[in-house]
């Protein structure tokens, strides 16, 4: 798939996508296409898992195989799809949005990308030697007892963490040192604020996971005793190190997504964004607060009960900056001149489904509820509403929104809407029944279940297959439009951010002359709006 979509970039060779290229736009496309391939693999694994769960009893996977598929589904989706695809958007967009010619460290940027394919191959190759089967959370002591694939898994995640870290160093440095003249911090597009907040979290949280993975790898290969309970080691230590990263990682997976929809709402509502500074600062608040909540994943682990209340409170406080964002978005589209284009539909899908994921997150932060539904399908439903209903919807919104900019071609709006409807129905059909199954007590991560849950599981499986199928119109649309779609104007959405003030696709080094910014990114309906920024780049299409 990647071959055919890349082979047709107008006027320029597709081969550059297979080389060490330091152009941030090439690297951005490399990220987007590669991670989408991993998304398809992760989705295939999910459909296998759902097929097994369509009926109770063992159907075609034994317990070990089920655990392997499930573990790699989670790991591929999180570490090889949602985190790096958002970094892909960051690579393509951050320099364009701030009016820079490239990232601060172009070679390190290429390295960030080129670490991903080998890491993905290492993770998937583990299927030939006994793949990881301890869940994406790799809880010890199981994760130090399983076959050698678990070591490959740890190595792969360490490499992916390093890629993510190098990217974060690059993003922060780029935003601080390479903004165009007049691009003050309060004129940064909200996607850039989202990338800044995310990069801060990556810098502070990822190394702790790396340290934990090093300890797992040492336990497995060098005979150390860190997590070996029978030798006095402490499996709970792993949980602390893991969640110190992996809870903030949820924000790493959602803050750039929130940035994407913050770009989409004002453009298709033709209104200035409501509460620009509040949205920007709430991203930073989520980053900082996000580092203080990790033990809410461990309420039932036997942790000191006195610590549970503080973690419950800090977790619930996250709802405040999140709520600020949601109300600001609603106020943005309120009374706007809304255009229901495909990106806008996905952005609206984001807000509705992310809300369900977010609110059930508050349920789970409450100790009495968490103790009841811990490790049930309620948790599975919650996280998929956040990450699939939320982040993946926003990724699709972004892919459609920037498709004309990246490819220079227009996608097919009708197919886009078919994709949206199938995706929206599929997501809700898959994950809503899981809330019910979880509340009724169905444990997650088990290949079998009691017959009373059959209807709910069958619904979820049907939904999963609808979701899997819903990717087909997107792939078809993307490939065909990239090859032969109608030529896109430089600024088909009449947006004000800088990436739209240059050609589609942008030339090498992005702008024909260095842009000068003298208005905000969402000043719709204000006299200085378009003219102010367009002044910098005379060659605006549209």
């Amino acid at each position: 798939m990647s071959m055919s979509t890349e082979a047709v970039t107008p006027g320029r060779g597709w081969r550059r996508y297979f080389t060490w290229n330091t152009d941030h736009k090439v690297i951005g496309v490399q990220y987007l296409v590669t991670t989408f391939c991993f998304f398809l693999i992760g989705g295939l694994l999910a459909m296998l898992v759902r097929a097994e769960l369509a009926q109770p009893g063992p159907d075609f996977l034994n317990g070990t195989e089920f655990n392997r598929f499930l573990t790699n589904h989670g790991s591929v989706m999180l570490f090889l799809w949602i985190i790096p695809v958002l970094a892909g958007f960051g690579n393509y967009l951050v320099p364009l949005m701030i009016g820079a010619r490239d990232m601060a460290f172009p070679n390190m940027n290429a390295l960030s990308f080129w670490l991903i394919p080998p890491a993905g191959l290492i993770m998937l190759a583990s299927f030939f030697v006994g793949a990881a089967e301890a869940g994406w959370t790799a809880y010890a002591p199981l994760s130090i007892q399983t076959p050698v694939g678990q070591t490959l898994w740890a190595v792969s995640v360490i490499i992916l963490g390093t890629s993510s870290l190098l990217g974060a160093v690059n993003f922060v440095t780029t935003v601080f040192t390479m903004r165009a003249e007049g691009m003050t911090f309060w004129r940064l597009p909200l996607f850039v604020w989202g990338m800044l907040a995310t990069s801060l979290l990556v810098l502070l949280a990822t190394p702790v996971l790396t340290a934990g993975l090093v300890l797992i790898a040492m336990d497995r290969m060098a005979g150390t005793l860190f997590f070996s309970a029978s030798n006095g080691g402490d499996p709970i230590l792993w949980q602390n190190m893991f969640w110190f990263y992996s809870h903030p990682a949820v924000y790493i997976m959602v803050l750039p997504a929130m940035g994407i929809v913050s770009e989409v709402y004002p453009v298709f509502s033709r209104k200035p964004i409501f509460g620009y500074k509040a949205i920007a600062m709430s991203s930073m608040a989520i980053s900082i607060l996000g580092l203080t909540v990790w033990a809410h994943h461990m309420f039932t682990s036997g942790m000191d009960p006195r610590l549970r209340i503080p973690y419950m409170i800090s977790s619930m406080i996250i709802a405040v900056p999140t709520g600020i964002k949601i109300f600001s978005w609603l106020a943005t589209i309120w009374d706007g001149k809304i255009r229901f284009t495909t990106p806008m539909l996905f952005a609206l899908g984001f807000i509705s489904m992310f809300l369900i994921g977010g609110i059930t997150g508050i349920f789970l932060a409450a100790i009495p509820i968490d103790v009841h539904v811990h490790d049930t399908y309620f948790v599975v439903a919650h996280l998929h509403f956040v990450l699939f209903g939320g982040s993946v919807s926003a990724v699709y919104a972004g892919l459609y929104y920037w498709f004309p900019k990246i490819t220079g071609r227009m996608y097919d709006e009708r197919l886009g809407k078919v994709h949206f409807v199938a995706n929206f129905v599929g997501t809700n059909l898959t994950y809503l029944p899981m809330f019910l199954a979880g509340l009724l007590g169905m444990p997650r991560r088990v290949s079998d279940y009691s017959p009373e849950f059959t209807t709910l599981n069958l619904l979820a499986t049907l939904g999963a297959f609808l979701l899997g199928t819903s990717a087909l119109p997107f792939i078809y649309n993307a490939v065909v439009s990239w090859v032969s779609g109608p030529k896109a104007a430089a600024n088909p959405w009449r947006a004000l951010t800088l990436e739209w003030q240059t050609d589609s696709p942008p030339p090498a080094e992005n702008f024909h002359q260095p842009p000068v910014v003298n208005s905000g990114p969402y000043d719709y309906g204000q006299p200085m709006g378009v003219s102010g920024q367009a002044q910098a780049v005379p060659a605006v299409g549209d």
Partner: protein, 199 residues
């Protein structure tokens, strides 16, 4: 002053950083070091968790005096980096070469001292897999040692560039950025020495 020696092109690209007084290379290094703080933070937390909750009599075998001497060697190497930077800022290239060589020798001496300490502990039966103390002690100090080794390699490449007249009174950013890393590795050791050997 430094900007003068870079191409005007690059100065234009990083104009926003110049206005903030931020050099992009140094900022990038600081951000990387922030992540290194968290990496060592994770390993130190694991070590302290076991030190507090599973105290081991084996820790009495540690030789505070000898390691204290080694600590002095490593701290001196930070001094030589500072002196080397000061030398090139005066335009004294030979001074830079001399002090970088001293840094490499002192760093190597530290690693030899650490290797000697590890060998002694191994002879007493303390290994990676003998106890939680062994696991956490060797992992933590070993990763610090690896960072010193990386620093020595970096110092060597800086030295090679200095020998080829790659630095001058107006252009010494590479020495400065290397120095940030080297001082960081030293500071980590001060924390490790305190936590492992003194308390």
């Amino acid at each position: 002053m430094r900007e003068a020696t870079r191409s005007a092109d690059e100065a234009g690209m990083f104009a926003a950083g110049v206005r903030l007084g931020l050099d992009h290379l140094k900022l990038g290094m600081w951000l990387f070091l922030a992540s290194e703080v968290m990496f060592f933070g994770g390993l130190i937390s694991a070590f302290m968790h076991f030190k507090v909750n599973n105290p081991s009599p084996e820790s009495s075998l540690l030789d505070v005096v000898l390691v204290g001497l080694n600590t002095f060697v490593l701290l001196t190497s930070s001094l030589t980096v500072v002196l080397g930077l000061a030398a090139i800022q005066r335009g004294d290239r030979r001074g830079l070469i001399g002090y970088l060589t001293a840094t490499i020798l002192l760093g190597t001496a530290f690693l030899v001292g650490q290797g000697n300490e590890f060998a002694t502990l191994y002879r007493h039966g303390i290994t990676l897999s003998s106890s939680l103390f062994g696991s956490s002690f060797f992992t933590l100090t070993g990763f610090h040692g690896l960072h010193v080794l990386v620093g020595i390699c970096w110092a060597l490449s800086t030295l090679v560039k200095a020998l080829r007249a790659g630095y001058s009174q107006g252009s010494y950013l590479g020495v400065e950025v290397f120095g940030l890393y080297w001082h960081f590795v030293d500071i980590v050791w001060i924390i490790l020495f305190t936590l492992i050997y003194l308390i």
